[in-house]
Amino acid sequence: MPPATVIRPGTLVNQAECDRLIQALRQAIAQGARHIVIDCQGVEYMNSRALGALIETYKAVCAQGGTLRLAGAGAFVLRAIEAVGIGPLIDVFDSVDEALILSA
């Protein structure tokens, strides 16, 4: 299995930070990343556009037989991914190390 691409968003994923996250996700997909880990450690809020981007990324990696994983997600991120329906479809880990070990 090829190594995973790790993406680290900021604490509040609104506007500019959301644009940055979307760009990083698109770039990873464009570069052929099949396994993406999002390091959610310290993320306190993620807006609807960022969540929509996670859904699109999930669909894109699924189409390539890859995975989307979340690491270190706090209560809000867990609640948000559950609300939009992606929660049960992706793997959630306590830390990035754990997510990477399991994808190695």
Binding site: N47, S48, I55, K59, A63, A83, G85
Partner: protein
């Protein structure tokens, strides 16, 4: 039996009946509140797996584009339409639950305003994503408060729902909590469509109407009642940039009586 004692007996009977009716009414209010809380919880609980099913169907549809399977397309299409139908019903159930204002007394307890507001926002993510509206938020450090967390969740949901309802794709809805003098505020703002000042004033005036004429007014009346019962207030501002709803709440709910 003389007339006086007969009147006294009837008065006592009337008082007894009034007491009984009061008890029955209280019980009905409680049952109505339980029913609406169940409706709200059930709707949320059903919506979550429905969202997952919708997403799973989309992934399968994508995969079938590359690898067509006769008959499977049709089944997925039926599944997709059925999910959309259930989603619409759930939205209606949630809307009804948000209008509930039964249960006169607040259940006051420790209130973590930011957590309650975040929870309300999360429940709107599916609608925001499907409408392509950007749901942003910011949170001040709010001191410990006391209030009815479930009612504040309901109030916040009403305001987000009212703003989101009229928004076009690409617009932005911002929810913010604010540390205010002797209290805290929740601001819900949309950057469109414009809300004329006159319409904003009419909505403000409508907050006092006990039998609002439309769904928006009914839901805002509910929000207003919840704010008032906490000893707070709701303000509606119009403008070219869109509507702004602001709720001020005291740090300690003052349990104002029903209007």
């Amino acid at each position: 039996m003389n007339t006086h004692s007969e009147i006294a007996r009837l008065q006592q009977e009337l008082a007894d009946r009034k007491g009984e009716l009061g008890l029955v009414n209280e019980k009905l209010e409680r049952l109505l509140e339980l029913k609406n809380r169940f409706l709200s919880l059930a709707s949320h609980d059903i919506r979550t797996p429905i969202s997952t099913m919708k997403l799973a169907v989309e992934v399968l549809e994508n995969q079938l584009q590359d690898d067509p399977r006769p008959g499977l397309d049709r089944l997925l299409s039926i599944l997709s339409r059925s999910i959309a139908r259930v989603e619409r019903r759930i939205e209606e159930m949630l809307m009804i639950a948000r209008l509930d204002i039964s249960g006169i007394k607040l259940e006051v307890g420790p209130l973590d305003l930011n957590s309650v507001v975040k929870e309300a926002i999360a429940s709107f993510f599916p609608s925001a994503i499907s409408r392509d509206v950007n749901l942003d938020a910011s949170f001040d450090d709010i001191p410990p408060m006391r209030g009815d967390a479930q009612r504040i969740h309901q109030l916040t949901s009403v305001l987000i729902g009212a703003v989101l309802e009229g928004m076009d794709p690409g617009l932005r809805l911002t929810v913010a909590t604010r540390a205010e003098s002797e209290g805290a505020g929740i601001e819900v703002r949309g950057n469109g469509p414009p809300l004329p000042e006159e319409r904003a004033r009419a909505l403000m005036a409508g907050l006092e109407e006990e039998n609002p004429s439309d769904l928006t007014r009914a839901s805002l009346y509910t929000a207003h009642q919840i704010a008032r019962r906490h000893g707070g207030r709701l303000e509606i501002k119009g403008g070219e940039e869109g509507p702004t709803f602001f709720v001020w709440l005291p740090l300690e709910a003052q349990q104002e009586k029903e209007a």
